[in-house]
């Protein structure tokens, strides 16, 4: 069942079906017939509604080709009609009315017209062209769904964006918005003392990368290190899984119990894109005397990507001017962060206080980007130690995809070791310039669409298990698509920046149209057969 959902398999099946249609196209030699004598020719062609052209191969090597009006006169033993006569070297010797003595003919030949010989091939190409154009049109009209954003990082360079281990600085869409981003990379045992990480530019963007470092902390069996939204790192005991979870749709325990990339998500509100929803998580058997933290694996849907692309589209041909203004006017960036981002909100965490019978706000998770899954922790400020814990998540409908929620007993706060790359390979060759660029804080490594850089890091100890995090800093510049120029709407841009509440209501219908088509297709193409564990990829 799952195999059939794999888009690669679906694509190959489609190709096989189309190929099968082509391969069935075979013609046999039955289109040509030879007759040793006139009688058999008359016999075989007498019932035909339309006579075929007739070739008479003469005994002297000439050939006469008669149009479909030829007749055989058995009384005088001739075949006559209009046509052409060629000599044995196939030079035209006569054209017009021909009368041939049957005795001079060695062999008669007829051919059935070959019809629709290319039909299957043209059909296959037409189906393919239709699918290509359809997908192309959808992508051009909704580029948010087909083109990614920000640099993606992979331990296995053969992986595609569905398996990105991290994505860097997703919010930094202009130089002035440059910031550093820390993403959890899971645990890894470093058997030698080096580790490779590939950075890809898989979008129509220019990536300007200032730093790519690893943050690492050695761990023992059963230990994990989680990062909080404000980048504090906590060494934790093995997380305890939730016993029950439910949302507006009902029981979602199975979706959140394991790190299996089976995510819980919802569709946006058709009337208001900032509508919120609540999820309730129940934990039991919390025997630990330690402080507890809520671990959440999450990423965004394509909603924020849609807003970024829409904003650029609204700028139309003034995109350069507006971005130039952004560079000099910090208030515009404040408006972006304080307006739309605030309106959409975090994944806010509350804990139930049994004695006051009320929900107590803890903190919120937020990380932009729809590709890599973020793994973060929020330490809970529960005053009472109890076996049971009830947690409420309040989140924007249609904005978040949640994979896993657990409670981790916190041992202590730790400081991971920062490791800089020792070497960068570009197409398999050492790229000293790239290395200099990421090590020099005044420079940027410029990565263009399709570029891949392999970063090599050296660890202080071999054969050690580390919890790893990626520290990336930089910004990216979205390439303006021609189709976006038509979307120019400065009033809408102003509304997005200054009145996000209204914008999110007005834009709901447009987003909904996009969401029901591309959002679903995008995530359906997720290859879900690959699994990973807590402790090793």
């Amino acid at each position: 069942m799952n195999t059939m959902k794999n888009p690669t398999i679906q694509g190959l099946l489609l190709a096989i079906i189309i190929f099968g249609a082509i391969a069935c196209n075979t013609y046999f030699h039955s289109f040509r017939s030879n007759y040793d004598n006139a009688n058999s020719l008359i016999h075989e062609t007498k019932n035909l509604q339309t006579k075929p052209f007739l070739k008479a191969h003469l005994k002297n090597g000439d050939v006469c080709i008669l149009q479909d009006t030829w007749v055989i006169d058995t009384a005088v033993n001739t075949v006559s009609g209009t046509g052409s006569q060629f000599d044995f070297n196939r030079r035209l010797v006569y054209q017009g009315a021909l009368t041939i003595q049957i005795d001079s003919v060695a062999i008669f030949e007829t051919n059935t017209k070959l019809q629709n010989t290319e039909a299957e091939r043209i059909r296959a190409l037409s189906i393919l062209a239709g699918l290509d154009l359809g997908l192309g049109l959808v992508c051009i009209s909704n580029p948010k769904a087909c083109f990614g954003s920000c640099p993606t990082f992979y331990f296995d360079e053969r992986d595609n964006f569905h398996y990105a281990d991290a994505e860097g600085f997703s919010n930094a869409i202009s130089p002035s918005m440059e910031y550093f981003d820390i993403d959890a990379l899971n645990t890894k045992t470093i058997t030698g003392n080096t580790l490779d990480l590939t950075m890809k530019n898989e979008a129509l963007e220019t990536h300007c990368v200032k730093s790519v470092n690893l943050l690492s902390y050695p761990i023992q069996d059963g230990e994990r290190v989680f990062q909080s939204p404000n980048n504090t790192f906590y060494l934790c005991e093995k997380p305890l899984e939730l016993v029950k979870a439910h949302g507006p749709e009902g029981n979602i325990t199975e979706l959140l119990q394991k790190e299996d990339r089976l995510e819980r998500f919802s569709l946006s509100d058709e009337h208001n894109l900032s509508s919120k929803e609540e999820l309730i998580l129940d934990f039991d058997n919390l025997n630990s005397s330690k402080d507890l933290g809520l671990v959440l694996n999450f990423r965004q849907s394509l909603m924020t990507t849609y807003f970024i692309y829409s904003a650029i589209g609204y700028m139309g041909d003034q995109v350069g001017d507006i971005f130039a203004k952004l560079e000099t006017d910090k208030s515009a960036i404040k408006k972006l962060n304080g307006g739309l981002k605030k309106e959409l909100g975090n994944v806010d965490i509350y804990v139930w206080n049994e004695s006051t019978k009320s929900w107590v706000y803890q903190d919120g998770f937020y990380e932009t980007g729809p590709i890599a899954i973020n793994r973060q922790i929020i330490p809970l400020q529960a005053k009472e130690k109890s076996q049971k814990l009830k947690v409420k998540l309040v989140l924007n409908k249609g904005l978040w995809r949640l994979d896993y929620a657990a409670i981790a007993p916190i041992k202590k706060e730790v400081e991971p070791l920062e490791i800089q790359p020792i070497q960068i390979l570009n197409k398999g060759k050492k790229d000293h310039k790239a290395l200099t660029a990421v090590l020099d804080t005044a420079k940027h490594l410029i990565s263009m669409p399709g570029d891949e850089y392999n970063f090599q890091f050296r660890f202080p100890h071999a054969n050690t298990r580390y919890e790893l995090f990626l520290y990336s800093k930089g910004y990216y510049i979205e390439w303006m698509r021609e189709s976006w120029l038509q979307d120019k709407n400065l009033l809408k841009l102003r509304q997005l920046l200054e009145n996000p509440k209204k914008y999110l209501r007005v834009e709901a219908a447009n987003y909904k149209r996009y969401e029901t088509t591309m959002e679903q297709q995008f995530w359906n193409s997720k290859v879900d057969t690959k699994s990973f564990s807590y402790y090793e990829n």
Binding site: I22, N60, T117, R121, A145, E202
Partner: protein, 164 residues
């Protein structure tokens, strides 16, 4: 590096196979063509040759060699295999780069749509190039006679040296 070379190599191969003799008819003029079909012979011991199929008798096959312009003969027992083309194929090699380029508009989905496009367009191109062909698997030498310039055999008055 290797993967980048595949497409140009495939294209070059197809471009090479695009060359077909002028005397071959299109599918619509197959019934008014005065020449024999084009045949490629792979011989067991003799050098291989190709050209217009002139005639076949019980033991010999005569071909107007495309390279030398002279008639060459081959004993049927000495022929390892043959490929006969009786009409000009339609060429679809152009679809490989054109359809592949189309997938650029698919963004992330090009990861899936490009291989599908390559499979289909290469299949269509190969199938187009292989159309209107027969080999020894499809027909006997007796039937092959029908595709010769002289299906009746070499006329007694015709000297092979004078054939063009």
């Amino acid at each position: 590096m290797k993967t980048k070379l595949i497409l140009p190599i495939v294209l070059l191969l197809f471009m090479g196979s695009c060359i077909t003799p002028d005397y071959l008819p299109s599918t619509s003029t197959i019934d008014i063509n005065e020449h024999g079909s084009y045949i490629k012979l792979t011989n067991k011991t003799k050098p291989n040759f190709n050209g217009e199929l002139i005639a076949i008798d019980t033991t010999l096959l005569i071909v107007l060699n495309e390279e030398t312009g002279k008639c060459d003969t081959a004993f049927i027992s000495e022929i390892e295999y043959f490929k006969l083309r009786y009409a000009k194929p339609k060429h679809y090699a152009w679809t490989i780069p054109v359809f592949s380029l189309l997938t650029i508009t698919h963004g992330f989905y090009a990861l899936y749509s490009m291989p599908v496009n390559l499979i289909v367009t290469i299949s269509v191109t190969v199938s187009g190039e292989k159309a209107f062909q027969y080999s020894e698997d499809d027909m006997t030498y007796e039937k092959l006679k029908m595709f010769a310039r002289f299906p009746q055999g070499i006329p007694p008055n015709v000297n092979l040296d004078t054939l063009k």
